[in-house]
């Protein structure tokens, strides 16, 4: 069987298109590359959606935490502490069993017990909390002069926020936020290792990597392949975020622009 055939059969296996049965013997390098790569679809799906949705919640939470009104501040602080203070792994387990219980109360929660929605919700809240903390830090370090200048120009309320505070906050937070994005993509590898079951063996990259490691008793092939894919993904994220960073900093002189320094993080 040629490699092209394998890619046709297993290239989209992770989302249920193609051959139903996973290969059981005669694992070739091509098998491993194709299946682990097809698992990456899930990692990208979780990472991309959680990041996009989380961005908005994070902005809201950061504004809430920086607010002087206790009504807004306290809930945001608690939310951030709850998700930053506990392991993501436990959050996944807890969420899964919580949704299982809720399912028996109301069928509305049925899709939440599946990874595609349930895990996404957890990742969404989690990244929102982490990003909110980064945005909050940036919010506090906006130069006083910028806000005073905005006041002097007669900007207030919403227009002051969208024209001065928010762009400056993003600009200051962007290097940290880039790392958070990379970190989130790494964290997506946890999904199918916690409570959420992989339905019909449609798992993410790590799921297939460990499948091969289990079957071949040889971790030295699948895990480096997984690492290769993740490094590739990380490079893409850095490129995209670097582009945005450039745009956010375009009004500044060359030497004062903030560079993104890669500071990979650990498990959350």
């Amino acid at each position: 069987m040629s490699c092209f055939q394998t890619i046709q059969d297993y290239g989209l296996r992770a989302i249920g298109i193609g051959e139903r049965l996973l290969p059981r013997e005669d694992f070739t390098l091509c098998h491993q590359f194709t299946l682990i790569g097809s698992g990456m679809i899930w990692n990208i799906y979780f990472g991309l959606l959680a990041l996009t949705l989380g961005f908005f919640l994070a902005t809201a939470l950061a504004m809430g935490k920086a607010s002087s009104r206790t009504l807004f501040r306290k809930p945001s602080e608690w939310f951030i502490f709850l998700f930053r203070g506990s392991p993501l792994f436990i959050q996944f387990f807890f969420a899964y069993f919580l949704f299982l219980n809720l399912k028996s109360v109301h069928p509305f929660f049925e899709p939440f017990t599946a990874a595609w929605l349930g895990a996404l919700v957890v990742l969404f809240f989690n990244t929102a909390a982490y990003s909110a903390e980064i945005f909050y830090g940036a919010l506090l370090s906006i130069p006083k002069g910028d806000i005073e200048a905005a006041d002097a120009y007669g900007l207030s309320g919403w227009s002051r926020f969208t024209r001065v505070i928010w762009p400056t906050m993003l600009r200051l937070a962007w290097p940290g936020y880039t790392n958070e994005a990379i970190f989130l993509f790494h964290a997506t590898a946890l999904v199918f290792f916690s409570g959420f079951p992989a339905w019909q063996q449609r798992g993410d990259a790590l799921y297939y990597a460990s499948y091969f490691a289990d079957k071949t008793f040889n971790p030295f092939v699948p895990y480096p392949i997984l690492a290769f894919y993740f490094i590739l993904l990380t490079l893409i994220v850095i490129a995209v975020f670097g582009f945005v960073n450039k745009r956010l900093n375009r009004h500044l002189p060359q030497n004062t622009r903030q560079k993104i320094r890669l500071r990979p993080n650990l498990i959350r």
Partner: protein, 278 residues
């Protein structure tokens, strides 16, 4: 209720909490030692040692750690068995990798097939500690490497002017002063280490996650039915609260240590302390 929560089976979840604390207690110093070694190697005068230090930091930090956890445990296990195999059974003929199987002679099995249960358990635990130490050591090395560079040059130059040797400058000037720069990074790392402990579950150690799943379920392969429904949600809620409390306490303690360390340092924090007391 109170009686039910103190049954023998429940005792194992409490001991597994101790296991987690033990893991933290053992791993933190070892990882710090690895980090110190890595950072010293990375700034060494000898080129190969420096390359080794830098490569160690770069490789471990570049890859998702969970992959590392899964990879290292099998790899370390096989490495140990391979070495014992070479030493203990020199006249073994067959190849070790037979297709998809990893075959070593009986005497080289680790732990030995006839060893008691606790040896198996502590061997798994030891592998877990080593894996944690390798991964977290790289991160600690990065933090300490940065901290060593953050110590003001003038301090080191003064030491040299006083005629201290390289060795003396390192141990008497650089090391005592670097901690205040390293602590923010290290405390961050400690928080992450706390949150990494549930991964023990992935390494096959029967830790709190394992017991929460076992005891919370209505029935398991090992125990027959429990007098309650599906309580796994509540067990994981308890774990969640446990971790939240743990991080909270750590935050408070680390803030204390930080204020102790800043005392008398030539940093903005130290300056603020001086002004507050004056």
């Amino acid at each position: 209720m109170a009686c039910y929560l103190t049954t023998g089976k429940h005792m194992s979840i409490y001991t597994s909490v101790l296991t987690v604390l033990l893991l933290l207690g053992i791993t933190a110093p070892i990882a710090l030692a690895f980090g110190f070694g890595g950072a010293t190697a990375a700034r060494s005068q000898i080129a190969p040692l420096r390359w080794f230090g830098k490569a160690y930091i770069a490789i471990v930090r570049g890859v998702p750690d969970i992959a590392f956890f899964l990879f290292f445990v099998i790899a370390l296990d096989q490495a140990v068995e391979y070495l014992r195999h070479k030493v203990l059974c020199p006249d073994w003929e067959g190849p070790i990798r037979q297709g998809n199987d990893f075959v070593v002679c009986q005497a080289a099995k680790m732990p030995l097939g006839n060893a008691p249960q606790w040896v198996h358990e502590s061997y798994g635990f030891g592998l877990a500690v080593l894996t944690f130490a390798i991964v977290f050591g790289a991160f600690a090395a990065n933090v300490l490497f940065g901290a060593m560079r953050a110590v003001p040059r003038a301090q080191l130059e003064t030491a040299e002017a006083y005629g201290m040797s390289q060795h003396q400058t390192f141990w008497r000037i650089l090391v005592p002063q670097m901690w205040v720069y390293a602590l923010p990074g290290l405390s961050n790392l400690w928080m992450v280490l706390i949150k990494a402990t549930p991964l023990l579950f992935l390494l096959g150690v029967e830790d709190i996650v394992y017991w929460a799943r076992e005891l919370g379920g209505t029935k398991t392969p090992r125990f027959t039915d429990y007098p309650h429904g599906d309580w796994r949600m509540w067990y994981f809620l308890a774990l969640l609260v446990f971790y939240l409390l743990f991080t909270r306490v750590s935050e408070i303690v680390l803030a204390r240590i930080m204020s102790r360390l800043t005392h008398g340092q030539a940093t903005a924090g130290g300056e603020a302390q001086r002004k507050a007391t004056a």
